[in-house]
Symmetry: C2
Subunit: 300 residues, 2 copies
């Protein structure tokens, strides 16, 4: 393996991409009447987060030879969909969460009816945004990207994951197989769509698509394992504060099967495999490699 | 005006198209695990109805020179979206309806969580279905159709209409302007998308698109006026049975502004204007003309 270029600063990279994505997201939804529905949509869309899905989409498009501009509408659409899934998952009939990232959830501020409708609108805006804003990409590839992104939301994607997650709640006999199913669908499908759609937009070759797919699948699962680990570790660090939500709700997690140490090891293995897949692209792969490392090394 | 061909039987036409649409819808959603989410989706998707949106889409595609096959995926996608909007509108946080077409609503059978997720999945399936199943249509037109259909669901479309409808509930000072806003968005936008997407798929010329647009806008409003009228008339006919829901909830309706007789007259005027727009296409316009007439003459 050749040594890769080393003057790459991931934090600067992530910061710059996040700014571009948030700026575009901010302009993506029109203002109009009645103002409260637009406020409700903007409230959740601007609530922050790592914007990891859009950043992955932009990075894989560039790795496959495309430009950031080609992927920006799809990248933002992925964040709209992610936001929709958070708004709906937080509803009383679902996970019943009142706070997210320290702020009241959408339905707490705007009511359940608006929260449901804000989510529906965001899902529709996502496809409208890809269809109307994608430039300099052949139309047949745009159609493929829409198919890929839509598929990741169906019962074969995040809806399917959320359903099994809800039906596993409070059960002590959840198997590792079920836990994998939940996360491959609930978190993995959209991360996979992010990486694959970026590559598709750049016209990546079929054989390269398999590399992107395996990269995405591995970091998707690693991402969730580390999420579970952080729920425990940040609890221990912040001793005296509220304990981890997963423990409180007796939710099956990777650490509950493997323990914290082995979970981190498994996540590291997955990330190594992910990186192996794309080392093939040499220096161009640096951002995606750094993002993979970031997934296991992050602390939030 | 030349006399149009007269051996056209609307009821046979509607019946045959409905069969084709329902057959395609039935095959459109995969079967899988967990079965209950697929059951929930199928329960509402197969609950019947006139299938007027898909039929309009097929008819306008054929009028514009396309084939039924070209429009069938989009036609079914429109019905998936319509079904999603019914499932979500019926939720306790929204209109709180327990029955629809004599059957318990989705959340009554499957619970609120599944009803929300079934709707989300249907909206995603709609776009996946257009993107993967549309054949013999140039990709740039498929992208335009997706944009059109998605737009009709956003806050500029049915979500916007439902929001104003919810916020007008129980208010006695709803203006005719607000009532028009509600229906142009809540019912009109998707009917408009049905007619326009059919024409788009066939590659209709820009100048003809305006005829399709005005046809769609007029029948959309006429459709809603007659819905309001039927809510009253069917009450009077079925004396002794439950009275009309709109009256019970003191909902603003067209008859509450104009009375029943004038409402029917307004709907007839709109339908005449709709027909004028497409008479230009001669015999090819017969199905859409007959559908326009059907909208004011139907009894359910």
């Amino acid at each position: 393996m050749k040594p890769l270029q080393t003057n790459f600063n991931l934090l600067t990279y992530l910061y710059e991409r996040k700014e571009i994505v948030e700026d575009t997201l901010n302009k993506s939804i029109p203002r109009g009447n009645p103002t409260f529905i637009y406020d409700s949509i903007r409230y959740s869309l601007s609530a922050g987060g790592k914007r990891i899905r859009p950043i992955l989409c932009l990075a894989s498009c560039e790795l496959a030879g495309g430009t950031m501009e080609m992927a920006l509408p799809t990248a933002c659409a992925l964040e709209m969909i992610h936001t929709m899934s958070l708004i709906h998952d937080d509803l009383p009939a679902m996970d019943n969460d009142s706070y997210r990232r320290g702020k009241p959830t959408n339905h707490i501020i705007y009511g359940e009816d608006l929260a449901i409708l804000a989510g529906d609108a965001l899902l529709a805006y996502a496809f409208e945004f890809i269809a109307t804003q994608t430039k300099n990409v052949p139309a047949d590839l745009i159609v493929k990207v829409i198919a890929q992104v839509a598929h990741s939301v169906t019962t074969s994607g995040l809806v399917g994951g959320q359903i099994i997650d809800l039906s596993s709640e409070g059960k002590s006999d959840t198997t590792l197989e079920t836990l994998n199913f939940i996360h491959i669908h609930k978190t993995g499908a959209l991360l996979e769509a992010a990486v694959l759609s970026g590559a598709l937009l750049a016209g990546a070759k079929e054989k390269d698509m398999n590399r992107f797919l395996r990269y995405a699948q591995n970091i998707g699962l690693a991402f969730q394992i580390i999420d579970d680990v952080l729920d425990i570790i940040s609890t221990e660090e912040k001793l005296g504060k509220s304990i981890g939500k997963d423990l409180k709700t007796q939710k099956a997690t990777y650490p509950s099967f493997w323990g914290v140490e082995e979970s981190i090891k498994q996540a590291e293995l997955l990330v190594e495999e992910a990186k192996e897949e794309i080392l093939y692209f040499d220096n161009k792969a640096i951002p995606l490699i750094a993002i993979a490392d970031f997934i296991v090394n992050r602390n939030n």
